[in-house]
């Protein structure tokens, strides 16, 4: 059966027409952590590559036989200076990637007790 491909909206290249794209990203900060949050709809865990490259956080997809062109445009983020590059974790849920970076303990704000007389 041949497959008819059109789009309800005006522009389309095919069925999965939302790719490739430059994923939108939010950067969040708390006292202990940074979160890099990216919208990656239709991207599976297996094809996603999250790495620290040349001191930058890099998010990209690995091309495969089905997708010779990368699904997303690579995003690179300057790492904040107070980040512990070893303490990094990433989670992909409902098409949203959250990369957690932990601040170095020495960089965290500390409350200094004031000794009064």
């Amino acid at each position: 059966m041949s497959t008819v491909q059109t789009d309800v909206s005006s522009k389309s290249n095919g069925k999965r027409s939302f790719m490739p794209f430059s994923p939108a990203a939010d950067v969040l900060e708390s006292a202990e952590q940074y979160l890099f949050v990216l919208d990656l709809p239709g991207v599976s865990k297996d094809e996603l590559v999250v790495q620290i490259l040349d001191g930058k956080l890099s998010v990209s997809t690995e091309p495969d036989a089905a997708h010779p062109e990368p699904k997303i445009r690579q995003r690179r983020f300057e790492l904040p200076a107070d980040v512990d590059a070893e303490a990094i974790s990433a989670e992909l849920e409902n098409g949203v990637l959250t990369v957690s970076l932990t601040k170095r303990p020495s960089a965290r704000p500390r409350k200094i007790a004031i000794n009064g007389s």
């Binding site: 059966m1 041949s2 497959t3 008819v4 491909q5 059109t6 789009d7 309800v8 909206s9 522009k11 389309s12 095919g14 069925k15 999965r16 027409s17 939302f18 939108a24 990203a25 939010d26 950067v27 969040l28 900060e29 708390s30 006292a31 952590q33 940074y34 979160l35 949050v37 919208d39 990656l40 709809p41 239709g42 991207v43 599976s44 849920e93 409902n94 098409g95 949203v96």
Partner: protein, 158 residues
């Protein structure tokens, strides 16, 4: 409906005076502008794009809705229409402040007149990897049928 002032408050920013004035203006508009027209005007500028495929036996629609909670989606189908309503709110986890923002909260509301009749009872919707897919099997009378071509033997005049 998107409301911008509470969203700003959510991210720990104070709404400037001009925003309060805008909210006041909107309240004034609300009183005499009919609701359907207003809903159209408040649609986000970047609408999630809907892809459509006709597989022969079924119609398939898919749309990228990353980070959408299942309870924030509502899909209804009749034998000749499909409605998709979904929204995403961006909330900050406790203790976090926003350093930079590109992602958007949005509200999607689409009503589609289907190109053929479907079996509304058998419509399936799945949400995987942030992509919503709706499959609507065609009604029996709308499915393509293979038509047998019969040869007609011509009588040869003697």
């Amino acid at each position: 409906m998107l409301s911008h002032a509470p969203e700003l408050a959510l991210y720990g920013l104070s709404a400037p005076h001009t925003l309060r004035s805008l909210a006041q203006l909107r309240d004034d508009i609300d009183r005499f502008w009919p609701l359907p027209a207003r809903a159209r005007a408040e649609e986000p500028s970047v609408q999630p794009r809907l892809a459509f495929t006709d597989t022969g036996d079924a119609l398939e629609y898919s749309v990228a809705l990353p980070g959408c909670a299942l309870e924030q989606m509502e899909i209804t189908a009749t034998e000749d229409s499909l409605s998709i309503a979904a929204r995403r709110d961006l909330t900050l986890p406790d203790g976090f402040a926003l350093r930079s923002r590109e992602r958007r909260a949005w509200a999607l509301s689409r009503h589609i007149d289907l190109p053929c009749k479907v079996s509304a009872d058998d419509v399936q919707a799945t949400y995987a990897q942030g992509v919503l897919s709706v499959r609507l099997p065609k009604a029996p009378e709308a499915k393509p049928r293979r038509i047998e071509v019969r040869g007609v033997t011509q009588e040869v005049a003697s």
